[in-house]
């Protein structure tokens, strides 16, 4: 199955999703197309594979229950990325609230996940980069991931995060500077 869609496929899939007779099979097709892209978007934000699997499932269940509100005004991928982003942020806020109750260092949650994750086999540079990204605020982290790893156009990030292109550029710039500082401090 193709993992990308062109404009006509997207329009066809949107039509099938909005028709009650075909929505179930179209939804299955949509999951097949987008599950991997969404997985990696969420995974880069949450680090842990298990957490990512939970949030990915919640993302698609939310998409299924809100299918009636999807009219095809936005691209399917943009719609799904928005849901995934909101679900990820909600998950992190819950985790942070739990951490606040038990630890004096709530920001250490993602660092701990990275150390403990058995589905990470990167080298030292990759580990350092992920640890540097984990120090960023959630939204800045999301912008950096979409731009740096996925090379996503600012216009699409703008639609997903509902933020202006100018603000995204600034956010990306500050995130890159903080990460550069993190690398610099580790070398000292």
């Amino acid at each position: 199955m193709s993992k990308t869609t062109n404009a006509s496929e997207e329009a066809q899939l949107t039509a099938l999703l909005t028709d009650p007779e075909t929505r179930r099979s179209a939804f299955t097709r949509m999951v097949g197309i987008y599950q991997e892209q969404l997985y990696w978007q969420i995974r880069k934000l949450l680090i842990s594979h298990d957490d990512t699997a939970d949030v990915l499932q919640n993302t698609f269940l939310k998409a299924w229950t809100n299918l009636d509100s999807f009219r095809g005004d936005a691209k399917i991928s943009t719609w799904l990325y928005s849901i995934a982003h909101n679900e990820s942020i909600t998950f992190l806020q819950k985790r942070q609230a739990e951490q606040d109750m038990t630890q004096s260092d709530p920001e250490g949650y993602l660092m701990d996940q990275l150390q403990a994750d058995k589905y990470f086999d990167g080298d030292e540079t990759q580990r350092t980069l992920l640890m540097a990204i984990a120090t960023l605020p959630a939204k800045q982290r999301q912008v950096f991931n979409m731009r740096y790893f996925d090379d996503m156009p600012y216009e699409q990030i703008s639609e997903i995060l509902n933020t202006s292109v100018g603000a995204l550029k600034a956010s990306y710039h500050f995130a890159a500077e903080k990460i550069a500082d993190y690398f610099h401090n580790r070398e000292l």
């Binding site: 499932q57 269940l61 990470f120 550029k169």
Partner: protein
């Protein structure tokens, strides 16, 4: 606030564009299957939640009588009550418990006797007459 000169700024490079993260073998195939099951559960729960309310509405409707049948029943009962009311009288000064037949029987013993005779069968009368003889 710090000024950003975007034109002078180069795209960052931190030595890698890969995360080093991996995913368990067969994860996406398994994920899609388990998601299908979850959606089935979700739909089944939705049907279960909607079913009792539909059923109760149908039951409610089946027990509800049309207004005209209720009105007709009330009118019929009222009519029967008026028609067969033993206390009904044409005397406007009569007391509420007025019973004209009983009163007439008390006042006129001949009448009461004749009414008692009227309630007897012919056989009873002949039997009484011949017994006296």
């Amino acid at each position: 606030m710090k000024q950003i000169k975007m034109n002078d700024w180069k795209e960052p490079d931190f030595g890698t564009r890969e995360t080093g993260m991996k995913v368990p073998d067969g994860f996406f195939a398994d994920f899609q299957q388990s998601l299908e099951l979850k959606i089935d559960e979700l739909e089944a729960r939705k049907v279960r939640e909607e079913a009792p309310s539909i059923l109760s509405e149908q039951q409610h409707r089946s027990h509800r009588l049309p207004w005209w049948s209720v009105a007709a029943s009330v009118a019929l009962i009222a009519g029967l009550f008026v028609w067969f009311n033993p206390a009904k009288t044409t005397d406007p000064n009569a007391p509420e418990s007025y019973m004209p037949v009983a009163e007439a029987m008390v006042e006129n013993s001949d009448l009461s006797e004749s009414m008692m005779l009227a309630s007897l069968s012919d056989y009873d009368i002949y039997e009484a007459l011949y017994a006296e003889d």
